[in-house]
């Protein structure tokens, strides 16, 4: 028995090694209750997946030869959950050394071996927005990842073709790191605003220099500046801003800045005081990604309410509920359900908060976030309605491939095992569960000291 187990682990191990191309699969899910998100609830429904895409949704679909059939009688099938704010699957979260690090890209530091990805799959989450941290006013560029746990090539984690996104941050974090830490701007919320304004102005001046060179006005080519190039891409609407924010005043401040520079694509993150400025957010077309009920972990995050998501939704703001945590990501469906207790959202409205809405915030709503023919087959199958407290995820599918199966959920799913590790008979310690929004910043500020137990959103 034991030998068999070890053997099967070995097979999984070698199979994953052999893999280098992004794999897609074929499946037929039978007799399910399909929560389509965009087209209501469909009872007794079959879903056919071919080449990783939803091929057919209907009844009495017969399986093409060789296609695995999953009997989902009595089960609830929903699109894979999308988390618009996470830091799993990353080796580096913060390049905290400058108030503007638009040039860096966390996609350069992907970690496909992070067991956190598998844990997210266990919670039905198939896509997460792997974000840079909030140490800088203009942080680094983020990467939208698909939870293809088992792949070895970091590239296979990327959601190919997903729009570029970037992290901005307001308030205490950038002020503490740069103002208090290094005594430079920003030392106040006013300073944070000036970082945005001066960065955009500098980028426009940079473009002017290149224009002069290209038009032959000057013969010396200017230096290439990746930071300014990125700022220009934001101005040109090529990058969606995801901005760490709490207070209503600073949220309005950023909207003003963006209006002045003609930038439209903005999704606020955390946005705990969003309920105070929901109409203004809706009017600008700004989106909001919030916690269901998490606050009071620092001074600027006291004025909060569990009704936030519902108020934003009712005001027409495209709203999502995110995790920002390797633990919360495992039960985002519970987090969404809280909006029914606090704000009375319908099942459909609540489920949108973790599916099509975060997909919209990441610019991938045409590919995922609902059960529709032609969309990518990212699917979670629950034993009960996912908004029920009794819901347990059974199966998670990414691109038509089963990446989590509760029936085949081994204790040790590590892909990367240190051959020099010390194996303890007494306890196994892991650092997988820590919140990472300010990861690396404390080491940076205080050289060598870390306190992983603190929440640092």
């Amino acid at each position: 028995m034991k030998i068999k187990y070890i053997l099967s682990l070995a097979i999984i191990f070698t199979l994953s090694i052999a893999q280098s191309q992004i794999k897609t699969g074929d499946l037929l899910i039978k007799n399910s209750t399909a929560l389509t998100i965009t087209n209501g609830v469909k009872e007794n429904t079959d879903i056919l997946i071919i080449n990783g895409k939803i091929n057919k949704i209907g009844q009495n679909i017969s399986p093409p030869p060789g296609v695995r059939v999953i009997d989902a009688k009595g089960m609830f099938v929903m699109p894979g959950i999308v988390d618009a704010h996470s830091h799993i699957g990353l080796d580096v979260v913060n390049e905290a050394t400058n108030p503007n690090t638009a040039d860096v890209f966390v996609g350069d530091a992907l970690d496909p071996y992070d067991v956190g990805i598998y844990r997210a799959l266990a919670g039905g989450v198939t896509i997460s927005h792997a974000m840079h941290g909030s140490a800088n006013a203009v942080g680094g560029q983020c990467e939208t990842i698909k939870h293809r746990y088992g792949v070895y090539n970091p590239d296979d984690l990327r959601m190919e073709g997903a729009p570029r996104t970037i992290k901005f941050a307001l308030g205490e974090n950038p002020i503490r790191v740069h103002g208090e830490g290094n005594n430079i701007v920003p030392n106040t919320r006013m300073g944070v605003e000036q970082i945005f304004r001066s960065s955009f102005r500098e980028a426009l001046a940079y473009r002017g220099k290149w224009d002069d060179y290209k038009n032959g006005k000057t013969r010396t080519s200017p230096e290439y500046n990746l930071r300014m190039e990125t700022m220009l891409d934001i101005l040109d609407g090529k990058i969606i801003i995801h901005c760490h924010s709490y207070r209503a005043d600073e949220i309005l401040m950023l909207i003003d800045v963006l209006r002045d520079f003609g930038v439209k694509k903005i999704c606020f993150q955390h946005v705990n005081e969003g309920f105070k400025v929901a109409p203004e957010l809706a009017e600008y077309g700004a989106m909001a990604s919030v916690f269901s009920d998490w606050w009071a972990y620092k001074f600027e995050v006291y004025y909060s309410t569990a009704y936030n998501a519902a108020i934003l939704t009712k005001n027409g703001v495209i709203t999502s509920i995110n995790s920002d945590s390797g633990e919360l990501i495992r039960h985002l469906y519970h987090e969404a359900a809280k909006t029914q207790r606090y704000g009375g959202l319908t099942d459909g409205e609540a489920l949108k908060l973790i599916t099509i809405n975060p997909a919209t915030q990441l610019g991938i709503e045409n590919r995922v976030g609902s059960l529709e023919v032609g969309k990518e087959a990212d699917i979670a199958i629950f034993n009960n309605h996912p908004l029920s407290i009794y819901a347990i995820n059974q199966l998670t599918i990414v691109d038509g491939i089963v990446r989590f199966d509760i029936q085949n959920d081994n204790d040790d799913m590590r892909l990367d095992v240190d051959p020099d590790e010390e194996i303890s008979e007494l306890f196994i310690e892991t650092n997988q569960n820590n919140d990472k929004c300010m990861q690396g910043v404390f080491e940076y500020l205080f050289l060598g000291e870390t306190d992983h137990s603190k929440h640092q959103h």
């Binding site: 050394t97 350069d108 090539n153 013969r219």
Partner: protein, 565 residues
Amino acid sequence: MNRVLFLCLFVLFSQFMLAQSSEIPSATDCYFIKNGLVVIKPGQNPSKSSIVIRNGLITEVGANITPPYDAKIINVDSMYVYPGFIDPLSHTGLKEPEKEDKSKEDKPKSPGVATFTQAGITPQVLASQMINCKDKSINSMMESGFGISHTVPKGYILPGQGSIISLKESNSNENLILRKDISMVGELKTKRGVFPSTLIGAMSRLREINKNTDIYLKNIAAYKANPVGMERPAHVSEYEAFGGVTNKSKPLFFVADKPKEIHRAVTLQKDLGFDIILSDVKLITPLIDIIKPNTPILLSLKLPKEIKDEDKVDSKDSLDTKKKVQTEEYIRLTAKKKESYDLYLSQAKILAEKNILFSFSYMDISTSDILKSIRRLIAAGLPENNALEALTTSPAKILNISAIAGTIEKGKLGNLVITDKPLFDEKSKIKYVIVEGQVTELKKSDSSKTNKNDDKKVGDLSGTWRYEVEVEGGTQYGNMFFEKDGSSYTIGVESDETPSEVDQGYDISVDRSNISFKLDIENEGIKMTVKLDLNFTSNTNFEGTAEIEGMGSFKISGVRRLIPD
């Protein structure tokens, strides 16, 4: 008058300099290596031959040649003769940089605006200007069989440029250099506290440097072509230096040890289009398919700690149920660890099977482990021929010096390694190393020990020693009592946390300046065995490790209490 004196002094002085800079004198410049079992190149069987080396070059190889009249004959009957080894990446022969004075360090006004130098990015730094012909590492690499090293500076992101040096004894730094400034070294290691301080910062900085190097060179060319009305481009030595990489005249040796790091290096290679040599690689197999064909790979010889089959635990019948469950998990974890271990050890074998050009790198390995590690790779399936290739012809190819080194052929440098048994035999010992015709005989005692310092006598260690051990959550202190008992000791250990409880050490073994023993301790009701391994650096100090099975290895150090109790 004064002037004449000065002149005289000057002449004398320069004479003196000339004498100093000339090579180490020897009685003859011709050697006859007689009747060895010569392996001309990897893949060939040893055949009885003799070799003539004159003026540092191989002039004749053959079975029936006669010694020249002026040759010193070295009889190597029944010994094995191989081409001198070539090290394609190390820091051999470089002066240890002086310790940085933190207060004097050039720091940026704020961390985000560091200059190249402040960020530690120094592509213009040349190993060729840092060579110290008297550095101990030259000799220790030579005694391990190497005749040639490619040595590169240490540092961050782009530490600088490498040179190929000859590992002979010389009084001149310049004379060691075979090929000057031929390469660039890169890695995603960053300096703390300034931009770029992380690998994502380093990646974006490298992308920018690559692009700006092109722009810089274009500006220089435009100015050269027609300076009229054009602002004169400022000289930037970093771009000047990196130009060698962008125009592909200097390969980039990129340090990347594990799959994610390798992926990042390959991403840069793809995005920026330059040639790289993946260096100091510890694990590549899972991503072997993403490597561009013709990318050479240098494997680190720092292998995982050896796992022996007898390390397996057997579950004892006496254990209670709870303990049994833990033990089963332990076995499972151990099996997975072993699987990973095998994956690491099979690297070289797989590269050989796939016909990928590979060699080794020697950045952070002690020379005594080199052949040991290679023998472990051979035990894990690497054919001996391929191992010898990785020591000789492959690094020659990677460094582009096949014309002068890597095999025992007429016209090549007189670099040889001579062993008493076949090279990869467990018991094989290096008897002679010849570098450019310079013969070093390794005395038996010399070749068996790796570091002469290890052998120093530390005398009688009896008495009380104060120790401190760094465990998780703090430092623990206590006393150790050594009492001489013939050639060994009796040892008692008393922790400050439980004073007057003295645990007795057992399985004590004394080897030169090294003492190891075991100790049974009880902590919060759990019995544990501690394995201590102490290295006495003098007769008043030791340092070493305290290993608790299943919990880890902790640093321990101690000083002798000079005043007796």
